[in-house]
Every structure is written in C-alpha cells, then in structure tokens.
C-alpha cells in the first residue's frame, strides 16, 4: 500500500448557489486497522474559508498548523481575512517548497469570496492547483467520488439540496472503499451561516 493509503481518507467539496459544501469521512486507520472514528479532516481558516487535508494524517495535521500560522500573520499585517484564491496560492507555494521531500497530503480548499462567490480547488501533493466550477475530490475513495459526484451534481443548488447531494455522494463512495468511511462530516457554508452535520454511515 502506498504512503497515501496508510491512513485512508475521503474528501469532497461542491459548489452551490452562493454557498459551498465540504465533506469528509471520519476514519483514522493504520493500514487495515481502524484506530479512530472521529478524526477531523476539515479545519477552519476563517469563517468563510475551510481546508480539508487528505493523505497521511501526520502531514495533514502539521500542514494545517503551518497554514493557520501563515494566515494569522496575514491577518495581523493586512488587518483582514485572506481571499480563497490567495489562500490557494499560499498552499500551492508551501507545498512546492517541499518539492523533493513533499508533504504526503492532497488539500481540498473551499471558500466564499468577498462577493459571496463560492471557490473550490484541490491540489496534488506538490502544489498543482486544479480549479473547478462544480466539485473537487481527494483521498483513497477519490475514483468512486468522481463517479458519484459527476452523476449527482447539478449547478445552483440551494444549501439544503447541496447537503443532501454531498452526503449521498460521500456515503456511497466510501462504501466502496476499505480505508475510508465510518461516518461523515459535512460543512455547508453560506454568507450568513455555517451548518455542520455529522452523518450516520456504515461502520464497516
């Protein structure tokens, strides 16, 4: 098994009408053994910007700490929050710094810009950005997630419908992956509110 499959993960972010959803599974494993079923893969950078990190869990935690640090410095200097596009550039640069000894993570970035326009992107482990207008996926269940999202996605969904779509796509994809699942967590973010829901999934 490759180093990206050591802990197991599943992440998906989707764009809706003036809102976005980002969802992850909750399993932390060591190859086939499940260690925890409440692992946090999605973290808040600021109220309108969330980042999910798939891949090796230790690198995901360390990378998140570095990103939070850089964002706090930015907030002190600029006296405002970072725009999602700027943050994506920051992540890409940080990852490429380690080009010959990379972090074994694939980030999924989701945020709401100043004009309430949702922004999502994903990257490989050395910082190649992939912007998308509809959805982005990462993790060991990525191939299943691509299929599920492609068939379930429609543009301009309202927050409630977006939540249903993202949850169904996530749960059906992780049910085909040995290394991810054991529940799910979905963040639906719009201009005025964030709703965090925990999903009841198959625990096998």
């Amino acid at each position: 098994m490759s180093i990206f499959e050591y802990n197991g993960s599943a992440l998906v972010a989707m764009v809706g009408k003036d809102c976005f959803a980002i969802a992850s599974d909750r399993r932390l494993g060591v190859q086939l053994q499940t260690i925890a079923t409440d692992f946090q893969r999605i973290s808040k950078i600021h109220d309108m910007l969330y980042v999910g990190l798939s891949g090796l869990a230790t690198d995901a935690q360390t990378l998140y700490q570095r990103l939070a640090f850089r964002h706090k410095l930015y907030q002190l200097r600029e006296e405002r929050n970072m725009q999602p596009e700027t943050f994506a550039n920051l992540v890409s640069a940080l990852l490429y710094e380690k080009r010959f000894g990379p972090y074994f993570c694939q980030p999924v970035i989701a945020g709401l810009g100043d004009d309430n326009k949702p922004f999502i992107c994903t990257m490989d482990s050395i910082g190649a950005k992939e912007l998308a207008k509809d959805f982005v996926v990462a993790g060991t269940a990525a191939e299943s997630l691509y299929g599920a999202c492609e068939s379930m996605y429609k543009p301009d969904m309202e927050p409630e419908e977006l939540f249903e779509t993202v949850s169904q796509a996530l749960l059906s994809s992780v049910d085909r992956d040995c290394l991810s699942g054991w529940g799910g967590q979905v963040y639906v973010v719009s201009a005025d509110q964030v709703i965090i829901r925990t999903l009841k999934g198959r625990m096998d």
Partner: protein, 272 residues
Amino acid sequence: MMKLDFSGLEPATLHQLPNDNMSDILSQAPSFKLPNDTDFDGFQKAAVQMVKPAKGTTTLAFIFKEGIIVAADSRASMGGYISSQSVKKIIEINPYLLGTMAGGAADCQFWHRNLGIKCRLHELANKRRISVTGASKLLANILYSYRGMGLSIGTMIAGWDETGPGLYYVDSEGGRLKGTLFSVGSGSTYAYGILDSGYRWDMPVEEAGELGRRAIYHATFRDGASGGVASVYYVGPQGWKKLSGDDVGELHYNYYPVTENVVEQEMAEGSA
C-alpha cells in the same frame, strides 16, 4: 520367482503421473523442467506474490455443547477497493459439512467443490458418510501437494459425524489443526477478543449464535477488509442450518444506538 515390491523405495514425485504407459514412465529417473527465467531463485516467490490476494476477511468457528457455530463476513476487497459486499464465504460442501472461505475466492470455491465431489465418491465407495477428520485430511493433502505454487486458502472444515462435532483448520501452506475455536483472516484478531471473553461450553444455541454474530460485527468495525453481512450457521446432529444474515451497518446501531447531544450542555460551556 515372486516379484518384490520396491515401490516404497522410489522417490516421491510432486506430480500425478498419467495412468497410461505407466511402466516406461516409471522407469525413467524423476526430473522436472527448469523455468526460462533470469531470476531462478526468486521467480516462484514473485509468482506467488502476483496471484496472492490479501486474506482480507473474518471467519470463525467454535464447538460448544450443542454443536458448532460457523460465522463469516461477506466483503471481497482488491487492495483498497471493495469489489463486493455480498460474497458467500460459508460454503456448503454437503448437508452436514461446512467450509469457510479466506484468501483467494477462486481457490476456496474450487477446492471446496472438489472436496465435496471427493466426499460423495467416498460415500458411494464405502456406503457410509465420510468423517470430518477424513474430509479435512483429503483437503489438506491436496493443498500440501500444491504447496509453494501460490494457492491462498485459509479454511475451516466444520461438520457433524458419528463421533459428534468436528472442527479442523486447513490452510494452503499444508497445515491442518484440530481444535474447538478458530478464527481466520485479517479480522481474526478482533474476533478472537470477543470470542475468548464470551465463550462458555454450555451455552444455548441462541447465545452461541449471538456470540458469533457479535464477534464478526466487531471485526468488521475495526478491520477495513471485513464488512457487509454477518452470516451465522449452526451445525447440529441433523446437519447445518443458517441462523442469521444481518447487515453489519444496521448491527452497529443496534449495539451502539446514537445518543442525542443535549443542547443545554453546550450552552453551559459557553457561559463558563
């Protein structure tokens, strides 16, 4: 002059020789072809690694006062991908013999069916059913002759014969063990934990079935390569009977129901 029988002194060969033209073939010195490979020492191991699927599964069987409980999950995995959640891992060799599947699915299905054929032939030749000891030995000897060729089988043969309940563990390395409690597969360690703590000799059938079901459930929870449906079979004097086949996803919420978070607690944290 009487011909002395020197057949016992001849060196044993791995392969079954064809029955026609026996005498000229037997008179040749035994030999085997060498492989056309650069890596003579390692090619066999490489071949085994290529075909060897991981024994991603959980199966268990134990003998108790009333008979035998045999239980298994139903997930088939190819590396990280789940290829099926509905595989029959408890194979019905005949109405009083069960075999479990762990390792390569094709290997287990084929050789169990082959064993069923041999058991039937034994019945026809000897006018009585084969014992569990005999059936497991037949399988073990076949597997031993294919040792090193990449078969991947970790099976338990469970059945009821004239001497009562019988349980044997047989694997593709050629091992054969008689015992009262076994678990095989990547999830076996988790199942052993539940089995060893809950096992009693004089349990009623329902309690024993529940122990087997719980053990499979816990293994599917912790092991990534086990999941799907927990099937439980009971083998008694009248033969085997399927007790239950419960979806493990639903079993989890039966054993550990979701508790609602009380909102008051969160508000108290905020004010403190």
